[in-house]
Symmetry: C2
Subunit: 374 residues, 2 copies
C-alpha cells in the first residue's frame, strides 16, 4: 500500500492511497456493503453512478453468512460480489457489541451468540485476522473493543489497554498467517480511549508506534456530542503520523465529514447515507429533505436540481414521495443512489478545494448551507 500526500490546506489533506485494487483519492467516503452488497444498489450502478474507489464489508456479517468458507471457495469477497476495486473490512468487533447476544468480553477474545440463529462463536485477535485473510479485503482492521458512550474512565482505560494488547496479538498472528489471495492486505490499528483526552493521546501514541500502513480512530460517533467527537479527533490527528492515511470509523453526517476533514481525516464510512435513504431522508448541498413529508406530493420538480446522480433529474419529488408512501422498493433504491452520490460528490469537492487551497472558506459555506431542513 502506498499513500502519497498531495496537498494540505490547514490540517485538511488530499492524497492518493494505492492498494493492489487501484488508487483511492482521499478524502474518501466508503459506502457500507455490510453483507457483500451496498443495499439496493447494483454493482454496476455503484461503479458508474456513485463511483467510490473503495467500499466496506462487515466481517461479523460475512463470517455468519455466507460464511468465510464460501468466500474462500469464491476466491474472496471481490470475486464473490464482483467488485474489482478496493475493499476494507472492519474487525467484527463493533457488530459483536451492538448486534450479538450474550457477549462476554475476556482477555482471550469475545464469546457471543449469533443474532441470526443463536449459535455460539468466539472472536479473538487471532481468528479475526484469519477470517479477514479469507474474506480478502485490501485493508483489514485490528480487533478492538469499541467502548460505548458514556463510558467511565476506569473502564475506558482498561479497555484501551486490552485493545493495545489485542493489537500486538493481531500483528503477531498476521505475520504468521499467509495471504490467501495474490494481493497484499494492510492492517490498520485502531485508536480507542472514549472521550478522555489523556487516554486518546496515549492510545494514539501507541498506535503510531506500531508503524502500520494506515491508522484508524474508533469508539467515536457512538452517541457523544459532535463537539466531543471533534475534540477527540483533533487530539489524535496531531499524534498520528502525517504520511499515513487516517480513517475515522463510523462518521457521519455530511457536516461531521467536512469538519473532520478539516481536522486531518482522510477516510470515512457510515451507514447514514444508505440507512437514512431507506427511511426517506435525503441529503443535499442545501440541506436535508424528508421525502415522506406531505408537501412534496404535488411538487413535480426534480429530486435535486444539482443532478449529481442521474436519479436526481430522472424522477420528481412527487414521484419519490409517492413511492415512499406506498412502500415501494424503488423508493429506497432511488434515495440510496442519491445519498451515496451526494456523499461521494462532497468528499470529491472537498479534495478539489484542498488542492486549490480554499478548503476552509468552502467548508464554512457548505456547513451553513447543509444545516437546514428543506
Amino acid at each position: 500500500m502506498q499513500f502519497e500526500l498531495l496537498a494540505t490546506d490547514g490540517k485538511a489533506r488530499a492524497g492518493n492511497l494505492t492498494t493492489d485494487h487501484g488508487m483511492i483519492e482521499t478524502p474518501i467516503f466508503m459506502p457500507v456493503g455490510t453483507a457483500g452488497t451496498v443495499k439496493g444498489v447494483h454493482q454496476r450502478e455503484l461503479k458508474k453512478d456513485i463511483n467510490p474507489d473503495i467500499i466496506l464489508g462487515n466481517t461479523y456479517h460475512l463470517y455468519l453468512r455466507p460464511q468465510t468458507e464460501i468466500l474462500k471457495k469464491a476466491g474472496g469477497l471481490h470475486k464473490f460480489m464482483n467488485w474489482d476495486r478496493s475493499i476494507l473490512t472492519d474487525s467484527g468487533g463493533y457488530q459483536v457489541y451492538s448486534l450479538s447476544e450474550n457477549r462476554k468480553i475476556r482477555e482471550e477474545g469475545v464469546k457471543f451468540k449469533s443474532h441470526i440463529d443463536g449459535s455460539h462463536h468466539l472472536f479473538t485477535p487471532e481468528n479475526v485476522m484469519e477470517i479477514q485473510r479469507e474474506i480478502g479485503a485490501d485493508i483489514i482492521m485490528a480487533f478492538d473493543e469499541c467502548t460505548p458512550y458514556p463510558c467511565d474512565y476506569q473502564y475506558a482505560k482498561k479497555s484501551m489497554e486490552m485493545t493495545h494488547r489485542w493489537l500486538d496479538r493481531c500483528i503477531a498472528h498476521l505475520e504468521i498467517t499467509p495471504e490467501v489471495y495474490n494481493y497484499k492486505q494492510s492492517l490498520f490499528p485502531i485508536v480507542q480511549g472514549s472521550v478522555y483526552k489523556d487516554l486518546r493521546k496515549r492510545s494514539a501514541e501507541y498506535i503510531a508506534s506500531v508503524n502500520a500502513d494506515g491508522n484508524a480512530i474508533g469508539g467515536l460517533s457512538v452517541g457523544e456530542p459532535a463537539e466531543e467527537m471533534y475534540a477527540m479527533t483533533e487530539v489524535v490527528t496531531e499524534i498520528l503520523p502525517h504520511h499515513k492515511p487516517r480513517y475515522l470509523m463510523g462518521v457521519g453526517t455530511p457536516i461531521n465529514i467536512l469538519e473532520c476533514i478539516a481536522l486531518g481525516i482522510d477516510m470515512f464510512d457510515c451507514v447514514m447515507p444508505t440507512r437514512n435513504a431507506r427511511n426517506g431522508m435525503l441529503f443535499t448541498a442545501h440541506g436535508s429533505i424528508n421525502m415522506r413529508n406531505r408537501k412534496w406530493r404535488d411538487d413535480f420538480s426534480p429530486i435535486d436540481e444539482m443532478g449529481i446522480t442521474w436519479v436526481d433529474t430522472e424522477y420528481s419529488k412527487a414521484y419519490l414521495k409517492h413511492l415512499f408512501s406506498v412502500n415501494e422498493m424503488l423508493a429506497k433504491q432511488i434515495a440510496t443512489i442519491h445519498n451515496l452520490g451526494f456523499y461521494l460528490w462532497l468528499v470529491r469537492e472537498a479534495r478539489k478545494h484542498i488542492l486549490a487551497g480554499d478548503f476552509l472558506v468552502w467548508k464554512e459555506k457548505m456547513v451553513k448551507q447543509m444545516d437546514k431542513r428543506l
Copy 2:
C-alpha cells in the same frame, strides 16, 4: 390505434400495434407496474435492459395512491413516472374483488372499502372511465366483474350479462368524456363467462360486436386448470375479430404464454415473473430455479449462462443465493430483471418463429425444456 397483422403461423400471430406512444411488437408481455413502478426496477433499466414496448398500471392502486388528482396535476401517469412508451391500465375491477373489503356488487357498480385505510369508495363503469382518462394510459379497460373459480353457471351467466351492460355504459360515457391529454386512448372490452363454453361464446360474440380497437379475455388464470384456460381461450379467439389485438389478462407461466400464443393471443400481463422473482424463483429457457435452495451456495457459475440480461452473467448463483438468504433488496432487484428479461425474450423469440413459420416446432421444444426444475 393501429394494428397490423404481419404473419400467422397456425393460429399464432405476429403483429405491430401502434399507439400515440409508439409501436408494440406482438406477441407482447406487459410487465406489471401496479403503483406506477415495476417493483425493484428503475425506469432506465426497464427501458434499456428489459425493453418492453408497453407496461401495465393498476387503476385501483393508482386511484387510491397517489390519487388521480395528483396524476392529473403531473400530466398523467407517463409523466408522473417518467415512462414515454405505451401504458395499459386495468379497470380496477379485479383488485376491488381481490383486495378491498366489504365490497358490494350492484348493477350501479361496486362499493368497497380501501384495503389501505378502510375509506369507502364506489366504482361504476362511468367513473372508472373518468379515472382512466385522468391516469392517461394508451389502452384502458372496460369495467367488468371478474368471476372467481369455481363459479356456478347461473352466477357466471348473470355476471356476464351485467359485464355486457356495464360495457355499454363504459362506451357511452367514454364518448362524452373528453381526453385529458393530447393523445388517443383506446378502450378494450373484456370477454367473461367463467369456464362455460356457451357463455364464453356468447360473450365473445357480444364483445366482437362493439367493434373496439382491441379485445380482452378476462376471468381466466383465477385458479382453474390450465386445460380449462386453454379451452376457453380457444373458444374465444375463434370468435374475436382477426384484425384486432387480443389480450389475455393475468396469464401466466412461460408455458401458458406460449400455449396461448399458439391459440391466437397477442398480449399478456402477469405478476408472476416479478412476484416469483421476489420470492427467489427464476424462470429460464431450461426450467425454473429456486434460488433459495442450499445447493446453489457454492455454485459460482453465472445465474444464467444464456445471458439474456446483464444480471445473468454479472452475478453468480452463489452470490444471488446468499442475497436471498440474508434477505437483501438486491436479491429481488436481480431476480426481477432476470425474470422480466426472460419473459420479454420469450415473446420476442415467439414472434421471430411466427415470422419464420416454425413457431409450433419451436414452441413444443420450449414447452418441454421449460417444464423442469433446475
